[in-house]
């Protein structure tokens, strides 16, 4: 077994990195895969609350880096999924407590025993971002259909290519189909054209995300919500399955066009 390391990053803050990491962790682990989620947002720990594991933390990632505990001791097992783990970020330190080499060394230790390692990147383009992408095999760039978020995604895509971690794949999050339909929100096609990157998922704006986060149970835990299903589909695509892109706005032409664009752009 050799884990695939997937980093979820965005440039701009608050676009859904932590939400996506938790949900992809749940979705992948639900298919029977073993998954370790690492919160690389040191100083602003959040993946623990989104996964509902905040009460179980004893050690954190910086404790491992600085040798106060073994890697296994910092891994918290999920309440429902046997094969899902979280390594929490330190809350009282900052990004300089970890180096890109530390990230590579510690993820290498996990590689042989798990199927997936998901890394929740902090916002920004500084040390924390560099730490998060250092060990990545696949980088997922998440953005919202909004000018500043797309601009920052473009910057991140450039940096990822410069670090030879490219080309990366795009998750478009918080899409409001109704606004897209009336021409008041950038559509998937517009954003793919602007960013020239492959798409791996479209997640609608969905109140269920907030409700799920309130409970500490990611939406992907059940198929009842559109956002949950969207994250499950992304997990299947990561697994190499060909899953059609969901037509959020109920128009038939939409999915066909996106699929054609993907083919034309070449699968990476």
């Amino acid at each position: 077994m050799s884990a695939k390391i997937v980093t979820i990053t965005s440039g701009k803050g608050g676009v859904g990195k932590t939400t996506a990491t938790a949900n992809l962790g749940v979705a992948l682990a639900s298919t029977g895969a073993s998954v370790v989620c690492i919160d690389a947002d040191i100083g602003l720990r959040n993946l623990d609350v989104v996964m509902g594991l905040e009460n179980r933390i004893v050690y954190d990632f910086v404790d491992v880096v600085e040798g106060r505990c073994k890697l296994r001791q910092a891994m918290i097992r999920d309440k429902r999924l046997e094969q899902l783990y979280l390594i929490p970020a330190a809350q009282t330190r900052d990004k300089t407590a970890v180096s890109p080499q530390d990230m590579i060394r510690l993820t290498d230790e996990l590689r042989s025993e798990y199927d997936w390692i998901l890394i929740d990147s902090p916002a920004g383009i500084e040390r924390g971002f560099r730490n998060a992408i250092a060990p990545a095999d696949i980088v997922l760039i998440i953005t919202n259909p909004e000018v500043s978020a797309v601009r920052d995604a473009d910057r991140i895509i450039g940096l990822i290519e410069a670090e030879e971690k490219g080309p990366g794949k795009l998750i478009l999050n918080r899409v409001k189909p109704e606004m897209v339909r009336r021409g008041d929100m950038l559509g998937t096609e517009d954003i793919l054209e602007i960013l020239a990157i492959d798409l791996i998922g479209i997640v609608p704006e969905d109140e269920a995300v907030l409700v799920a986060t309130n409970h500490g149970v990611p939406v992907a835990s059940d198929t009842g919500s559109r956002a949950g299903r969207a994250f499950q589909n992304i997990a299947r695509r990561l697994n190499g399955e060909e899953v059609p892109f969901e037509s959020l706005d109920g128009r038939d032409g939409f999915f066909g066009r996106i699929t054609r664009m993907m083919k034309a752009g070449g699968e990476g």
Partner: protein
């Protein structure tokens, strides 16, 4: 905004604006050259070229463009009218 948009029947299409603005700003971001830096570059360029030939400063245009896979700085530098050149 036309009449239909005002009464809420037509498309306001702010997404189109967003797309156009993004495309423009990304041309500058990707080149690492802000519009202000291009103005500075233009002034320097005018000074250098003026050493050799008289040009019409006000009409000089420097634009960042993008074709298939390469970004280009395109300079359009009109010379001063012939009679002034002599």
């Amino acid at each position: 905004m036309n009449f239909l948009e005002k009464v809420g029947l037509g498309k306001s299409r702010s997404a189109k604006d967003a797309k156009e603005r993004l495309q423009l700003v990304l041309i500058h971001d990707r080149a690492g050259l802000s519009p202000g830096r291009i103005e500075a570059l233009k002034d320097d360029l005018i000074d250098v070229i003026s050493k050799h030939v008289e040009i019409d400063r006000d009409l000089v245009e420097i634009t960042l463009t993008k074709d298939r896979d390469r970004q280009r700085l395109v300079a359009d530098i009109p010379l001063a009218p012939p009679r002034r050149r002599r």
